[in-house]
């Protein structure tokens, strides 16, 4: 699975088609595709250095790819939260939002009420007059997402909105993300956590700039070849040990098609992504 099939594209307004990016001699992205559908959340998941930021910058228009094509609306219709900043530290919460509104030419009572509701609901209302630079990490991210949502963008690109954020702020951020998608925005967000990616309608798993898996969570799970078994401890067999990983106090072993397994479990997204990473690792080791 490498991304949307050519026949799917007419129904997908935004995204990247076979995008590659090279920095000097380093290939940061290698023929990666992702479709971003309106009214849905699409998640890009991977570790540090997987290429998530590079891909999101391409889709948001902050970086021109070396190869491939990007579909995006005009800049005014894109909301983009970069990985670290996204807010002005020396402006207050209210000033950040006023400035952003002025830039996008947003006026009117309805927009003001909307922002007021977002601030109230995410616990930022009491911090209106505090400088953004003095907020906790979670509050800064919430402010950044609200600012990116201000122009009611058609495409909302959020680079790791929840990384390093505590669970309470993370829940507020997910409320904002769901609100944006429910309002019709096409949301593309990145995360290092699969339990967050599992909330999305479509998931792209990146590893070292390449697509490891892509599709709906159900498609990614269904694409796992063979079976997965749960065993209480690390397998003694050295061959099995190469296909095993630890999860929640027990071990999972992946058995390729044709290898019999006792007590197979129904895999979830986390199992499927671990198998995809293992297969890539085993293929690399055997090559």
């Amino acid at each position: 699975m490498t991304g949307p099939a050519a026949g799917d594209w007419p129904a997908i307004p935004w995204g990247a088609e076979a995008v590659s990016v090279s920095f000097g001699g380093l290939r940061a992205l290698d023929q990666v595709s992702v479709g971003v559908r309106s009214g849905q959340v699409t998640a890009v998941v991977g570790g540090d250095g997987a290429g998530k930021t590079t891909l999101l910058r391409c889709v948001a228009g902050a970086l021109a790819p070396t190869g491939g094509a990007v579909r995006r609306p005009e800049a005014q219709r894109i909301g983009y939260l970069p990985p670290s900043a996204g807010v002005y530290d020396d402006l207050s919460v209210a000033e950040n939002l006023q400035f952003r509104s002025a830039v996008f030419g947003i006026t009117g009572a309805a927009a003001g009420r909307q922002v007021g509701e977002y601030l109230e609901r995410t616990g930022l209302a009491a911090a209106r007059d505090r400088l953004a630079g003095q907020l906790s990490g979670g509050m800064r991210r919430k402010l950044g997402v609200i600012a990116a949502m201000l122009p009611e963008p058609e495409l909302l690109v959020l680079d790791e909105p929840t990384t390093g954020v505590d669970p309470v702020s993370r829940a507020d951020l997910w409320w904002l993300i769901a609100r944006a998608a429910a309002g019709g925005a096409a949301v593309l967000m990145s995360t290092t956590y699969l339990d967050e990616a599992a909330r999305a309608a479509h998931v792209l798993v990146l590893d070292a700039g390449r697509t490891l898996a892509a599709g709906t969570p159900a498609e990614i799970v269904a694409s796992v070849p063979g079976t997965i078994a749960v065993v209480p401890g690390r397998p003694d067999d050295t061959e099995e040990r190469r296909r095993a990983w630890r999860r929640a106090g027990t071990w999972r072993v992946w058995h390729p098609p044709g290898v019999p397994a006792s007590e197979p479990v129904r895999p979830d997204l986390q199992d499927a992504v671990c198998v995809a990473a293992l297969r890539a690792e085993l293929a690399g080791a055997d090559a």
């Binding site: 009214g39 959340v41 991977g46 570790g47 540090d48 250095g49 997987a50 906790s136 990490g137 979670g138 990384t163 390093g164 954020v165 505590d166 669970p167 309470v168 702020s169 993370r170 829940a171 997910w174 409320w175 993300i177 769901a178 609100r179 998608a181 429910a182 309002g183 290092t192 956590y193 699969l194 339990d195 599992a198 909330r199 999305a200 309608a201 590893d207 709906t216 969570p217 159900a218 799970v221 079976t227 749960v230 690390r234 990983w245 630890r246 999860r247 929640a248 106090g249 007590e263 197979p264 479990v265 129904r266 979830d268 997204l269 986390q270 992504v273 671990c274 990473a277 293992l278 690792e281």
Partner: protein, 332 residues
């Protein structure tokens, strides 16, 4: 908003397991810490024995970092007492501890080999030019840490923390920014270290990671609000789940009725054997299908009423650790 009270969670065990006194590696007894008029830690009891992996969960400001700094003797207590290996924390007892801070604690301008050699010299008092670099890191051994991918730097930091065979590991969000398979591998290392007899205290914001711990301690407002295994903390609690093809319309109806719904996607994590029936049995509406919204703390009947004639299924399913965490933190 009405207060959500769940008696099952309110009764979650507060006491930890019995650990023989001689075996306790680290202990906090009624420990408090006050900064000016702010109480950061308020009467916390915590004990870690050999072989245990204790997860510290809490929102920002819950007191996790303050507690760890007191355990290390880097911050004096305002009340209660702290013991490391049965003694007051000291330079000698800290030598038996492996501490992995969020910032990894490596010197950016030294290579992995130099970092490991320096750390060994500090801990053993013997300088030596050659240091054993683990096989998996050997190809990176001569590269300055600032030029390494974060995942590699994180493995190097683990190697450094484990190099002096610590009896107690203190890990502050040890796997953030790591891909799922690499995270599973780091947890293999952590659990193997515990199986070899060390005690481990881990702070984390990740519920996936919390489920790797043998025991959890949930902090809110500086107090312990729950302790036990993840399964004990979740207990029999259940959550109302809505599945609807038009999830956005369902979300709008729930919000209009003042119900807080959380987007949960189309797949629910599960470990049932292949072929088992899904956990949810519809209480109202159609067969479970579509995108799930979880509505914690609200009965299915109220949720079904809020949805009205919208095509959707309403079920109850086992609560998640995250949902229980929120109830505990909100009530704390």
């Amino acid at each position: 908003m009405p207060e959500i009270v769940d008696p099952e969670i309110a009764d979650a065990e507060i006491a930890g397991p019995e650990i023989a006194d001689a075996e306790i590696l680290a202990e906090c007894a009624s420990v408090s810490r006050v900064f000016g008029r702010f109480t950061a830690v308020d009467g916390v009891d915590l004990a870690v024995g050999p072989g245990e992996v204790v997860g510290l969960l809490g929102a920002n400001g819950a007191g996790k970092t303050t507690l760890i700094r007191m355990l290390l003797g880097l911050l004096p207590v305002s009340g209660g007492s702290v013991r490391l290996f049965g003694q007051l924390p000291s330079r000698a007892s800290r030598r038996r501890v492996g501490y992995l801070p969020q910032g990894l604690g490596l010197y950016d301008d030294l290579t992995i080999a130099e970092n490991l050699a320096f750390s060994r010299a500090v801990f053993t008092g013997t300088a030596s030019a050659s240091t054993d670099v683990p096989d998996s890191l050997r190809r990176y051994a001569a590269i300055a840490v600032r030029d390494l991918p974060l995942g590699v730097a994180r493995r190097a930091a683990f190697a450094q923390v484990l190099a002096h065979a610590p009896e107690l590991l203190l890990l502050d969000e040890p796997t953030s920014g790591v891909d799922p398979l690499a995270r599973a591998r780091l947890w293999e290392t952590i659990s193997q270290t515990a199986a070899d007899g060390a005690g481990v205290i881990v702070t984390t914001h990740s519920m996936e990671e919390a489920e790797e711990c043998t025991r959890l301690v949930v902090l809110a407002g500086g107090r312990v609000v729950a302790a036990g295994t993840a399964a004990q903390i979740v207990g029999p609690a259940r959550t109302t789940v809505v599945r609807a093809a038009n999830w956005a319309a369902a979300l709008r109806r729930l919000e209009a009725a003042g119900l807080r719904a959380v987007l949960a996607g189309t797949e629910l994590a599960g470990t049932e054997p292949a072929g088992a029936e899904p956990a949810g049995t519809p209480l109202a509406g159609t067969e479970p299908a579509g995108t799930a919204l979880r509505v914690p703390g609200r009965p299915a009947a109220e949720v079904a009423a809020a949805l009205g004639d919208l095509p959707a299924s309403v079920t109850t399913e086992p609560a998640t650790l995250e949902e229980c965490f929120f109830k505990l933190v909100a009530g704390g």
